[in-house]
């Protein structure tokens, strides 16, 4: 079901890499949103962050064709 990517002989699941990448992107976005004061309009920031992360990961999986669909 999951494709593995070969990094110098270590097989890493593609989904894991995408999850890690989404994590980094989300961290950058969160910093940006904090800087412009976006979180003042958010009721429960941790919930918002989780939703944001889910969206990012979903987008990555849909756009990057390493996952067989």
């Amino acid at each position: 079901m999951m494709q593995d990517i070969n990094i110098y002989g270590v097989f890493v699941p593609a989904f894991g890499l995408l999850a890690l990448a989404a994590c980094l992107v989300q961290a950058a976005l969160r910093r940006l949103l904090t800087a412009i004061g976006f979180y003042r309009f958010v009721w429960h920031p941790p919930l918002f962050n989780l939703a944001l992360y889910t969206c990012l990961l979903g987008t990555a999986v849909a756009l990057i064709p390493v996952m067989p669909r």
């Binding site: 429960h44 941790p46 919930l47 962050n49 989780l50």
Partner: protein, 681 residues
Amino acid sequence: MSAAPGPSLADVVFSLKTFAAAMLAYWIALYFDLSRPFWAVGTVYIIAHPLAGAITSKAVYRLLGTLIGGVMTVLLVPNLVNAPEWLTLAIALWVGLCVFVSLLDRTPRGYVFLLGGYTVLLAGLPLVNSPEAAFDTAVARVEEIGLGILCGALVSRTILPRHAGPVLLARVDAWLGHAARLAGDALLGEARPGDAQRERRRLAADAVDMRAFTTHVGYDTSRHQARTDLLHGLQERMILLLPLVSAIEDHVAGLRRAGALAAPAAAALREVAAWMAADGATAAARVRLLERIAALEATAPPGWEGLLLRNLALRLRELVALWRDCRALRADLATGAARRARTRRLLAAGGGADRHLDYGMAALSGLGATLAILLGSVFWIATGWADGVTVPQIAGVFCCLLAAMDDPVPAMRQFMLFVLAAAAIAFAYQFAVFPMLDGFLPLAAALGLTLIPAGILLATPARYLIGMGLCVNIPFMLTLQSRLSLDAAGFLNANIALVLAIALAMLTSALVRSVGAEASARRLLHRGWARIAAAAARPRPGDPGRIQRQLIDTLGLLAPRLAALGAGSQAMAGDLLRDLRVGLDIAALKAVQPALPGPAAARLAALLARLGAYYRDGKATADAGLAELVAGIDACLALTAALPGPAALGAGIALAGLRQALDPGAPAPRPVAALAEKHAA
């Protein structure tokens, strides 16, 4: 607590002892060929504590909790073998329940329930796949944890034991010193506002710290039982000191502003401060002091300033009595037995505290743990990753261990770093050092190279988390066995799962219950106000000690939160202390109300009703009602000033106290002053 400049000899000895205990446990486990020796080694480090008594209490709690958990595993697993979903749900709910109960307990005893919870999680969850091993796993865990506990307790108590007694006395002395300085500042009116706030908060935080410490002391040795009682008594009195000092400060400031702090009063204040600071004060000095205060009271002029002065004298007398109690308790603590008649009477009089229980917060914490386990299990099953079982397990354990914190996320983030460091060290050991070793002694020596320095960190409270992160994780990560296994994939899998587990615990904690100290403090504050409102609304006078105990308990909980807050919230600490005094004055007014004639009593009842409404509506929304309230108090003051008799005087004193507590900055009331002039004429 400030960080020590360097490790002391005692810390090094503690680390060596702990390491010896861990290696003893490891050797015994290997000798009897137990299946997971690292559980025993890790346990020694988990229960490690510099004080002998604390180890024993932790060991007893851990053993008891593990037993409960083992029984629960054996009960749950075979009955739900055929329904893995239900088994997972049952385990998650059981852990949530355990967290809930342990938070309601609010003492170190809560550890029993936590352990009962996560033993099921650690021993039971892997069995969702292979239920036939249920009994063996549960027994192995109870055995090895029991072994670790026995070794840890044995070594700490037999080799160079460090008893709680001297440590305790040093702490109590430091505590009394703080209190004397705080009171001295208030008496002499020398404190700058910021200083007093900080001192007061530290004192309250000390009191909370002491409460946890007392539970451990009880386990030191049975003959120290009297010591536990003495500590409880001392603690109660130390907290009583806080509102008293705050009241004295406000009254001195009020008198000074009115220009009514005459020379004899100032001299009396100085004398009290000197008496408190002096070490070997005699009974004669105290009697002279009390005479001085009585003289102050006798010469009090009529009118508002007189009321303030009488009030001040009353508080000073209470302060002297309280400090005398503290001294007596301290002296008996040094000998370890309640010898003096005074302390015995004090201990008998102390009632059980009405503890503040936050059911909502405890339930949320339990829900957080349940959620983490369920999400982790879904992840484990959905990915089909064999090592994934660590994710729900460790996430659940983290939710349990940090359940008592307001906001566990920063602590978890910090812990994550130490886990990564421990993983790097364990990696080096596993693949670079271990292959070159043969035999138990070289292995122990190699482990000692890191575990002994890391154990020193464990001895200082400020670095406890670092030491814990290294010492407990390294044995678990190495999965110390009888035979070496060079399995890089297994090692990586296990550690990635561990990191994911901490991330999951952070996620659910942030989602469900990361409220922060600010919100938690506000919750407690509102709770305190509700109690004052209830006291004002109660028809009969009731027990004044009860509201005092309730509010002081709330204050004790509030103190560490306030200590964690920034400078912006300093006003809040002063506020709750003043509110506490309002509660006490309400109790005093209720007590004298029946003795007053009809119209004055009715007026007083109306005032109390308005006061109750003021607190019920959430004081914070607006201090709009404050001016009206003060005007109401002034009207009552005018009424009582015109009446003769001790009841009216008592009501006047309580009203003046109430006014000072509600609005310390208000100018002297005019009606009373006018009345006093008429009186004088």
